[in-house]
Amino acid sequence: VHIFSQSHLCLVMYQVLKEAVCGLIAVSWLASRPIRIKQARNLSSSSPVVSDSARFSHWTLIESCPAKDSWQAVGIGGRNRIAMSGPSSGCGFLMSVVVHGDLALNEQEKELNQRLKRLYPAVNEQETPLPRSWSPKDKFSYIGLSQNNLRVHYKGHGKTPKDAASVRATHPIPAACGVYYFEVKIISKGRDGYMGIGLSAQGVNMNRLPGWDKHSYGYHGDDGHSFCSSGTGQPYGPTFTTGDVIGCCVNLINNTCFYTKNGHSLGIAFTDLPPNLYPTVGLQTPGEVVDANFGQHPFVFDIEDYMREWRTKIQAQIDRFPIGEREGEWQAMIQKMVASYLVHHSYCATAEAFAKSTDQAVHEELASIKNRQKIQKLVLSGRMGEAIETTQQLYPSLLERNQDLLFMLKVRQFIEMVNGTDSEVRCLGGRSPKSQDCYPGSPRLFNSPVHKASSSQTYQTGTAEVEMELDHFSNGVSESSSNGFLNGSSTHGIDLEECDGDMGEIIIWRQLCGGSQAAIERMIQFGRELQSMSEHLRRERGKNSANKKMLKDAFSLLAYSDPWSSPVGYQLDSIQREPVCSTLNSAILETHNLPKQPPLALSVGQAAQCLSLMARTGSGSCAFASVDDYLH
């Protein structure tokens, strides 16, 4: 009944996540109420509370990762993924393939890479490359390859079945595809049209047509039969010949395979397929020629539609995953996770309000949370000098004991100096301190769930609808939005538009160190100090390539007249403050014997790990259960 029982663990993790995130959104709305009241009571000095709730909502609505670097630590990009969207996992590897060749070929490769990325986003090609062509090594001698190893022709005698010959693709089909598909066009049926299209495991005899041997599966053109590891075929589909396009689809979730002919699905051919099969074709008589399409061209069959169906199936399965009798515990666990998350990131007012409304104890003193909050705010607004100072004051031995951390903070300080945001250069420059408090990520902060919830409330009041008897639809149709009509799903788009207007004012001026000569001098001096600190560190603790690279990258900023638009300019982006902030926060928490990462981030990381484990153990459903989908 359960197709992928082995992946239950993952599903459990998902449930946690899903609920947690839903919970967070709901809770943020709840929590916003006490905050607003508070704000109203002391209008004059409420700024920390306001920014606190704002940052919190910022997280829930943007759906970026809260614990920026901690996510990275467990292997998923999170916010960084957005920031560096270009060279993510497989792409860099793919690019290296496309070095030579003419322009047209390059175009084709590009299209191929794009299509493969779109079809199989869950595949990590560094671990499991996708088939892109036939293998010139893994074939019988009667097979000839041409046209970038995509065209296969027969060059044997073709007298008896003993003259059959096959070729496999360069790589087996990765399980993380979920659903894999390739097509073969019959260019010529040759003398007798004994073409076989299918799959085989590594090591299966190539002097045969696919389907004849163990771990080999094929659909043959002459009789339309399917061959499931057997010399005798079963009636399966129509025959095929010159001009036909035959597709082969492997479903790695239920381990079945079906074929298509000219874009029409012919129905299941094989079940209980083993893992790690290679696309395979076999030919048997002279003149037979076939072309493969592993994604180089659009497919005749609408495979993406089929994938959509399976994505929906898997997601429905996750949605319906039973929590069982422990529902009460479940609720408590989720609340705990949310609370610990809030505390970890020192959203203290929200954490307090949340703890209160859910009857929980907070395991850290409020003062301590506030201290961390203060430091984080400084880091996130680019005031590194002050941040370091405050840390040294509040946690005297922390940075002394952790020189690498100090070094990292100082490098960041240097970058902020270049940026013109660090406190030391800012007082030398001429910027209005007010606008500096607002770091560039924050415009979105106006897009708060408070806003959203209240708008949906007004939508409701005054309608008699709520009081009426519920509709009795026999078919049980529900709104596409899982929240039903209460949370008017259309509001989301409007909110995003609203916040766009604020984006303009972020980057007003871009001058080195804010344009002040004194500040530049201070920055250069600080750079020298940093250099000597680096040398000092190396002498005392040996080489540290991470530190070296960090410093080199930071200094590289000075090599450009406009550092912001230089190749190393990304460092100046305020998003880069987030990992620094998070590392510092974790270090502080560790000194208090508190976990380095909040359990929520851990569970997100664990879910991601489970997915890659599923990919490695051949559970295809991992393809349609991206963690990101559940953070939206």
């Binding site: 029409h264 699905s265 129905g267 609408d302 959509r308 169906e309 008699a464 009426m468 008897e469 596409s480």
Partner: protein, 665 residues
């Protein structure tokens, strides 16, 4: 005890009704609100209130302009609740004239009140007990509903749902179409609300069904810059709810059948057809499988290419075999509820499968073979022919009819399974619809090469077929006479005599003046088959010669198509081949003049048939050929024949030469 509780309930219900008559409007309002809370989900309470006469009072309050808007709205809400009870509730409401009252209410400007009225109307109209005609009695209603479509998502949902349920006839389609249904509803297909999208889609499926005008308009509609057919295609994506996929596929099917979309269009071949095949799969609900199969059968009925594609898509032919496995043996033992559900759908499933098989096999011999080779297929048809459900019997005989177009199947599986037996049984006292199909199938079974012909003859089929020729339905008359024609082809003298006897000359001549050309053609065909081989010709002509010659004259003089006249001339040629029958022509100068006329006709077919006739008359080896040759020469036939030897048509030329040779010999 029971009586006691019942009385209590009635007493409280009475209290609710009484409060509706309170002199203080505020109390009345509170009373209605309390009533609303009391009836929610309580069918007995609803029935009680209706019995106690709450409905007329609520309607009165709803219609009074002196009532506050709030009160009127609450009344509409309560009525909406009452309508959600049993069918009896709906009947009572309709009897109290709730529909005109609520429609009147729609003229109010207050949106909330309008929504409450529409909601109640929707519930009433979607009930099978409400006559849909009530929506159309007042001609101002439809345009007003159209104008309300822009008011809110709720008005959109309710109004489209009402339309979707109340559009049952071509007249309804036309009314809605003329009031701009398409322009008004099309934008709703991209509404943010799923319910609105779904109901709008359903509207289009009922509007387009067998309606060329609507379908032709639909193809040119743009929704947000996109063609409507593409919007439907998107709604068939596999991650969309099944109901949406299925309804979108129906829309495209109807548009295609109405000629608005070509059958080779990608949206049909690559999208609609595969979508409908998926609807037939085991994963779908039984209702969906029925609808899917029926729609697919309808889609591909006229197109052999679609039939061929469907026959290889997703193992459709064997997938359909599963339709016959309900109720399954498992469900009978384990689960009463499931058994009940299965039983309810079993007939529907079987008839849908038969229909789809019929459609699949209507043209292609290979597909027919594939169908008959499906597990127990012929047995299933045979038992389907005698099922209690008319729908199943009809579908089964349609399927059989479709398969009977195959010579090979007639020779093999049809004979092996003695399908003629249940078929003959079916022909007794069946409704016309079934009779048409069954008799048409019988025609094929009576073809000369069919091994079933003999046993059918022995079962006394002639009387039955003769009675069909007297039917009021032209289709039945055609089939009856057609079957007789097939039966008479190369038949024994005994059979021919029997046919003539059973049919009676009077009926035969009545059929020769039948208004339906098909009937006439097949009757002529029957005559031609009766009048073949010389002894048969002479025998038939000796007893019925006079009438036949009269009939032939009549047809040749009348306004008939070339085909009819050709067939008649062929009969004449057959008569001319008889030994004694010849004289009936030779002594009829008028007839000879007619033959002469047709030999010079502009149509080659008629010339050929007439020449054939003359050729038979002047054939050398027979008694009296010399006299006949002389007479015909005197009448100028030789000159005509001579001319015809120069004809451009090789057949006619040959025929004329052969005839000329008779003179030379």
């Amino acid at each position: 005890m029971m009586v006691c509780t019942l009385m209590e309930v009635t007493a409280t219900s009475r209290h609710y009704v009484d409060r509706l008559f309170d002199p203080d409007p505020q109390n009345v309002l509170q009373g209605v609100i309390d009533m609303k809370n009391a009836v929610i989900g309580n069918n007995r309470q609803k029935a009680n209130l209706i019995v106690l006469g709450a409905v007329p009072r609520l309607l009165y309050l709803l219609q009074q302009s002196s009532s506050s808007l709030e009160l009127r709205t609450e009344c509409a809400v309560v009525l909406g609740s009452l309508a959600m009870g049993t069918e009896n509730n709906i009947k009572s409401l309709v009897d109290c004239h709730i529909i005109p009252a609520l429609l009147q209410g729609l003229l109010c400007s207050d949106l909330i009140f309008i929504e409450a009225c529409l909601r109640c109307l929707r519930t009433v109209f979607i009930s099978p007990v409400t006559p849909v005609q009530l929506l159309y009695t007042d001609p101002t209603v439809i345009p007003h509903l159209m104008s309300l479509l822009s008011r809110s998502q709720h008005t959109q949902e309710y109004i489209t749902q009402i339309f979707a349920h109340c559009c049952k006839t071509p007249e309804h389609q036309t009314v809605l179409f003329n009031h701009g249904a398409i322009q008004n509803i099309a934008p709703l297909l991209i509404s943010p609300s799923f319910k609105v999208r779904m109901q709008a889609l359903k509207c289009f499926s009922v509007l387009a069904y067998e309606n060329a005008q609507v379908s032709m308009t639909l193809v040119n509609v743009l929704v947000d810059g996109e063609q409507l057919s593409q919007v439907f295609v998107r709604m068939m994506q596999r991650d969309k709810p099944i109901e949406m996929q299925l309804t979108a596929a129906k829309c495209l099917t109807y548009m295609c059948r109405a000629g608005a979309i070509r059958t080779d269009d990608n949206c049909i071949v690559l999208k609609t057809l595969p979508c409908l095949v998926r609807m037939c799969s085991k994963e779908r609900l039984l209702e969906e499988r029925v609808e899917g199969a029926e729609t697919l059968a309808y889609l591909m009925e006229p197109d052999i290419e679609l039939q061929r594609i469907a026959s290889v898509t997703d193992h459709l032919v064997s997938m359909l075999a599963d339709y016959f496995k309900y109720p399954s043996s498992v469900s009978a033992i384990t689960d009463i509820k499931r058994l009940d559900h299965d039983l309810k759908h079993a007939h529907e499933l079987r008839q849908a499968a038969f229909k789809l098989y019929a459609s699949l096999g209507s043209n292609d011999e290979d597909i027919r073979k594939k169908i008959t080779e499906t597990e127990n297929m012929m047995d299933r048809i045979v038992s389907g022919l005698s099922e209690s459900s008319i729908k199943v019997r009809l579908a089964a005989v349609r399927c059989l009819h479709s398969l009977s177009r195959s010579v090979q199947q007639l020779r093999t599986s049809f004979h092996d399974h003695a399908v003629w037996k249940p078929l003959m049984k079916l022909l007794q006292n069946a409704p016309d619809e079934v009779l048409v199909m069954a008799s048409s199938t019988l025609c094929n079974l009576l073809l000369e090469f069919s091994p079933s012909k003999e046993p059918i003859l022995e079962s006394g089929v002639i009387e039955l077929l003769c009675s069909l020729t007297q039917s009021d339905s032209p289709a039945l008359r055609v089939n009856g006479i057609w079957a007789l024609m097939n039966m008479a082809f190369q038949a024994d003298q005994k059979v021919k005599v029997e046919i003539v006897r059973a049919l009676g000359t009077e009926q035969l001549f009545r059929l020769l003046s039948d208004p339906d050309t098909n009937v006439l053609m097949k009757t002529l065909g029957l005559l031609r088959n009766l009048l073949s081989t010389r002894p048969h010709i002479d025998q038939v002509m000796s007893s019925h010669g006079k009438q036949i010659m009269q009939a032939v004259t009549l047809i040749l003089e009348g306004e008939h198509s070339i085909e009819v006249k050709e067939q008649t001339l062929c009969i004449l040629a057959n008569i001319a081949d008889g030994n004694t029958a010849k004289e009936l022509i030779m002594t009829n100068d008028d007839m000879l003049q007619k033959i002469k006329y047709y030999m010079g006709h502009s149509n080659v077919k008629l010339q050929l048939a007439a020449t054939f006739c003359i050729s038979n008359l002047i054939w050398n080896e027979e008694d009296g050929s010399q006299e006949r040759q002389d007479k015909l020469r005197d009448m100028g036939f030789v000159d005509i024949l001579h001319k015809l030897t120069q004809a451009s048509d090789p057949n006619l030329c040959d025929r004329a030469k052969t005839a000329m040779q008779q003179y030379l010999a």
